[in-house]
Symmetry: C2
Amino acid sequence: MNATTITSTHSGTTRGPVDHEVRNQIVIAATQHFRLYGYEKTTVSDLAKAIGFSKAYIYKFFESKQAIGELICANCLHEIETDVRSAVDGGGYPSEKFRRMFKTIVESSLRLFFEDRKLYDIAASAATENWESVRTYEARIKMLLQDILIQGRETGEFERKTPLDETAASIYLVFRPYLNPLILQHSLDSTADAPAQLSSLILRSLSP
Amino acid sequence: MNATTITSTHSGTTRGPVDHEVRNQIVIAATQHFRLYGYEKTTVSDLAKAIGFSKAYIYKFFESKQAIGELICANCLHEIETDVRSAVDGGGYPSEKFRRMFKTIVESSLRLFFEDRKLYDIAASAATENWESVRTYEARIKMLLQDILIQGRETGEFERKTPLDETAASIYLVFRPYLNPLILQHSLDSTADAPAQLSSLILRSLSP
């Protein structure tokens, strides 16, 4: 997901590079502000005051607080996705890629959603309200999973009897508690061992 | 878990049948009251007023609101466990028992935790604070799972290479989001298909 895609999601009109620059400035300032004071409790007025723009000026670039939150959330999910992709791109057998994928999803989600506890707010709203950025992210993780499954089937490392859709859907259900910040917060006790244990279980289910 | 076990959990002293009767009366009245008004918002004073006992009299039988909540929670988890046991006792191959076990955990948890939305409060507190009733329940579900795995290993339906502990622990991690009411509330979209899909995945992982 590149910056252009993110921007175009939230704006029907074509905007020039200057507009893009201002949007970025607002997003960076808003991220800082939400980090300190939380997303839920902040209004666009608070934000305007804090970052020294007028409320009307902010509304020229974002139609609502959620539109700003969407962009921050998309950036955050994009960061997780980048981590996961680079873990998978490290090469090796499809089974090794799979293990690294699961491990990185958990580690990167923990880092992004919980180290910045105040940004957890945004991720939680995004997951509760099923924002577009979340749906896009989930679709991309599913695609990445499917690619590994296809590679494993082609190299003969994974079984081919089960329909690919079924295999992918059931593995995604195992991933889900670790992708979704609302669920992840209740699984913090098990995040150290879960990816390895569950990867082993899933890889046993994939053996030809 | 029979009534005696539950009672003895919350009381160090030996109590006669009359005391037991009064405790039951309080629990039944409290369950009704929590069902209507929620657990979190109710105080022991509210409860005393509503059920026509003095606060002091209630404290003779329960040391706190949580002690009453614990017993209601234990009863609720006991009901789920009974459902699961009778589903498993239905006979058939270990694989069939396993499928029924998972299906019943989900269906019974949904019914107990969410149909009575006001009782969800208690289950949520219990899960958040890791009450003894929850720990006992989880241990019993783990034992039941382990029994099925042992049967499947003995009959040759399941593989025996993976250490039993490891197999059981990883399967339990797959169950967990559907046992824990805090997590289950965020998985309501997937509860219709998840047990069947995940059972198939797990059974593939168990094949010799």
